[in-house]
Amino acid sequence: MTAATGIGARVKRKEDLRFLTGTGRYVDDLPLARATYAYFLRSPHAHAAIKGVDLSAAEKMPGVVAIFTGKDLAEAKVGSLICGWVVKDKHGQPHKAPPHPVLAADTVRYVGDPVAMVVANSHDEAKDAAEKIKVDYEVKPANVDLAKALGKGAAQVHAEAPGNLIYDWELGVKADVDAAFAKAAHVTKIDIVNNRLIPNAMEPRAAAAEYDKGTGQYTLWSTSQNPHVLRLILSAFVLGIPEHKLRVVAPDVGGGFGSKIFCYNEETAVCWAASRVGRPIKWTAERSESFMTDAHGRDHVTHAELALDKDGKFLALKVDTIANMGAYLSTFSTAVPTYLYATLLAGQYTTPLIYANVRAAVTHTAPVDAYRGAGRPEATFVVESIVSQAAKELKVDPAELRRKNFIPSTAFPYQTPVALQYDSGNYPPIIDEAIKIADYKGFESRRAEAKSRGKLRGIGFSSYIEACGLAPSQVIGQLGGGVGQWESAQLKFNPTGNVQVITGSHSHGQGHETTFAQIVSDKLGVPIENIEVVHGDTSTTTFGMGTYGSRSLAVGGSAIMKAADKIIAKGKKIAAHLMEASVDDVVFENGTFKVAGTDKNVPLGQAVFAAYVPHNYPLAELEPGMDENAFYDPANFVYPSGTQICEVEVDPDTGETQIVNFTAVDDFGNIINPMIVEGQVHGGIVQGVGQALLENAVYDKETGQLVSGSYMDYTMPRADDVPSFKLGYKVTPCPHNPLGVKGCGEAGAIAAPAAVMNAVRDALAPLGVTHVPMPATPLSVWQTIHGASRAAAE
C-alpha cells in the first residue's frame, strides 16, 4: 500500500479535486460581508513631481467610502517598503537604499507607480471616482534604458543613488583572471542582453483585509508565496502592527514564479486602511496593472569573455554585467544579480578563475526582482552561450567541449572559485543520455533534409547547474540577507490516528499537499488519505519562510523528516512501555513498532491513541500527546544539474522559429513524485522558451510607457508554440538532507533560454550570423538574417 503512495510514486494530487470542480478559494473568491473595493490611481508618467492632489470631485462620487494618498500614509508614519538584502559594494559599503513609499507622495518614478487608493462600495465606483482625482504632475525627464542608466546625462531616479548606481559589486580577483587571459590560446567574447520579462502568473495579484475592532486583530489575505515573511515585513518594518495582531493568509494562489514573494504597495495599503475604513477591503489587480507593477524579471546587459588553452580547457571567465533594479528596490532585488547569479558562473565546469563585476542601476521602470530562476537563468545564459560560441569558433563539437571541461564525478564536494561548494553531481552520463534521447547523431542529416525544404535547422546545448534549496541561514547572513532560510514542520496527530502536516512552505501549484503527504505516509506508514497538509495561514502554521528558490522539498521536506523522526522517537518510548520492552530493542517498520525477534508489535495508531488517552503510559518520563515540530536549516544549497538539447527549424523567409525537438535530462537527486517533477520541468522549459523566442517587456524610450502592457503585445507561450518534451533523469542523491533531494522547480526555466538560443544561432550560422538577440522573435531573426546577408554581400 505504501509503495503506491510513498516516496517515488506517481501519486495523483489530493488538491486537484477542488481546482477541477471550481471550488478552490483564491483571494478574489473570498466572500467578505460588507466588503469595500479598492482601486489604485497610478502615475501615467515615468517620472514626475507631484505638485498637488485634488480629491474634491472624487470624494463626492457615488459609493466612495474613503480616499487615501501618499500624504496620508506619510503622516501616519507608514514605513518604506523594504529591500531585505544588504549587498556590500567593492569597497565594503552597503548599497544605496532609496526609500520606497507605499503610495507616492512627492515623486512618481515609473508608469504605474501608485499615487492614491480609492475605497468604494464597488470596483466600478472606485474606478469612476479615481478618474475624478486631479493630480498636478510636473513631468520630468525619464530614463527607461538600462544601457544608458549609468552614463552621463541619464535622468536621475533617486537623489540617494547618484549616477543611478545602487552598487558596484564584484566577486573574484580581477588581476588573477587578467593574468590567465594574457596566457590564453583563445579568447571568446560575447555581448548579450538578458531580456526583461513579466512573470504573468495566471492569477493576478490580490489582497483583502479586515480589522476587528474588538480584538485589534488585522486579517490580511494575500496572494503570497510566503505569508509569514509578509507578516514580518509589514509588522517590523512598514506598518508597525504587532505580529501577533496580524494574521496573514495565503489561500489558494494561482501561480507565483517569484512575483508573489515580495511585499508590495497594494496589500500594504489595503491592510493599513482596513482599520480606518472599518469594513473589509478587497483589491484585485486588473491584468494591465499586473503588467505595470508585478516585479519584472531578468534585464541584464552583459559582456563576457572566456579564455581557453590550446586544448580547449577553460582557463578563466570574466563577466561584466549591468543589472536593472527598476525604479525602486523590491524585497530581494539586490541579491538576484549578485549572490544568485555570479556564484553560478562556474557552471558544470572546472574553470579555475572567475571574475564578475555587477553594477546595479535604477531606471524609471517597474521594480525588478526574482522571477523563476532568479539570477541562475542569467548565469546559465552567459556560461552556456559563451561555451557554445567558443565551440563554434574552435570548430569543435559543443558536447565535446563541455565534456572536456566538466567537473569529474570524483571531484565532489567541489569548491568552485565563486564561493559555492557543489555537494554532488555526475555530469557526463547526463549529457550522454540527452544526446541519446535527442538523437544528436542523426542531426546533420535532419539539417540537410530541412535545407532541401528551404528551412534552417539548428541544435543547441545547455548544461546547467543551479544552487537552490535556499539556504544555509548563516551563509545568507554573511552575504547580507536579512532573514533566515530554514523551514518549519509540525506533525500534529489526532487521537484517531490521522495527522495534520503543518508546513511553513506554501503551495501555489507545486503539489505539496500530495508530495508532503507522500513523505509522511512513507516514513510513518500512515495511509495517505489520513494525512492533511496545512499551509498558508499564519494563525494555524508555525513560522515558515515560504516557497521560492526551489526550496520546499529540500528544506520544507527535510523539516518534515526531522519532525517525523521525533514522532518515531516518542512512539518508540510509548511502544516500549506498551510492549514492556526496552526502548533500545524497539524498531519502527512499515508504520509499526516491533521488538526484533518477537511477535510483539504496536501500530503507530495505537501509540498515538495511547498518547492522547495515557492510561497505560509512562507519564513519569513522558508527556502525553503526539505533536512534534521541527525546524530545519540546510547545511548547504542543493545543486540540481542537467543538460537540455533543443532542436529548432527556422523559416528564413519569415524569421519564424519552430521547436521541433526538446530534450531535458536532469539530476534532481531522489525524486518523491515523478509526475510532479515532470510537470515542473515542462512548465519551466516553456517559460524558458518564452524568454528565448516570445517574451519581452518593452518600455518606450521616448515616453517611458510600457508598450508591452497586455497580452496583445506581450507574447505568452501558447500550446502551439511548443512541442511535447522528452525527459530523462539521473540520480546523485543530495548528501546533506534526509531525503537526498535537490530542487526541481526552476531548472527548466534556468537552462532553456541558452538551449534555444544556441540552437537558433546554430541554425543561422551558415548565413554568417554569429549573434542573435534574445528574444529571437520572427522580426528579430529576419532582421538578423537580413543584416547578415547584407554584410555578406558587401
Partner: protein
Amino acid sequence: MYDFAYHRPKSLADAVTALKGKDEARPMAGGMTLIPTLKQRLARPSDVVDLGGIKDLAGVKVEGSNVVIGAMTKHADVATSADVKRVIPALAELAGGIGDPAVRNRGTIGGSVANSDPAADYPAAVVGLNATVTTNTGKHAADSFFKGLFETALSDGELITSISFPKPDKAAYMKFRNPASRYAMVGVFVTKTGNNVRVAVTGAGPAVFRVKAMEDALAKNFTSAAIKDIKIPADGLNSDIHGSAEYRAHLVNVMARRAVDAANK
C-alpha cells in the same frame, strides 16, 4: 466599464431607431471588439444596441454563384458552413483562423467588416473576393468600402445586413500572425476569377489595400514565381515592436506567394 443604456431590438428598424438621436449610441454585433474596448474605458457610449436579437441577420445562403452571409453570422459558423466550404473554401479557412475558438463563437462577420480594424482578416476577403456589402440603406462595392483606419463607407445609422461573395476560380488566404495578439500582421487574400486577379492585403497598412503590381503579374501568369521579385514599399505601412514597416513589406511578398501556391493546389 462605464454604464450605458442597453437595447436589444427585435428588428432592424427598431435597431435603427434605437441608434438615432442618442448622445453616443453604438451597435453591438458579437461584442468581441466592443466589449474589450468598453472594459478598457476607451469608449463611453450612452447606449449600446445589441443586434443579437434580430432574426434573419445570421445565416449562410448560396444565391447563384454567390455565397451570401448574414451580418450576424458567427465566425465559427462561417468556418464550418458546408456551403462556404464547398463554394469558397478559402473564406471558410479565413473565418476558422480568426481569434480563438471561443471568440469565433461570438464574433461576427458584420461586426468585423464594419469595424475595419487594420489587423482584421475579413476586410482582405471582402476586397479579395470583390464582395458586395449590403446594408439597410443600400449596397457598397468592396473597393469603395474600406476608407481608412477604423473607417468605412457606412454612414451613421447604416447597418450591414449581409455580404455577398462571388465564387472565384481560385482563392487562398495566408496570414502571418502577430505572435502576441495573433491578429494579422500581414494577411493576403489572393483570388483569380477568369482573367481577373485580386491581391488584398490586411494587417500591413492602416486599412486593407490591393497590390496592383502583383495583380497585373499574376493575371499574366498565376504562379508564385511571377511575383517573386515584386516588392512593395515600406512607406506608410504599420510599424510596432512585433513588425517593422520593412518587415511587413517583406511579408506581403512572402504571404502573397504562399497564397498563390495554396490557391493553385
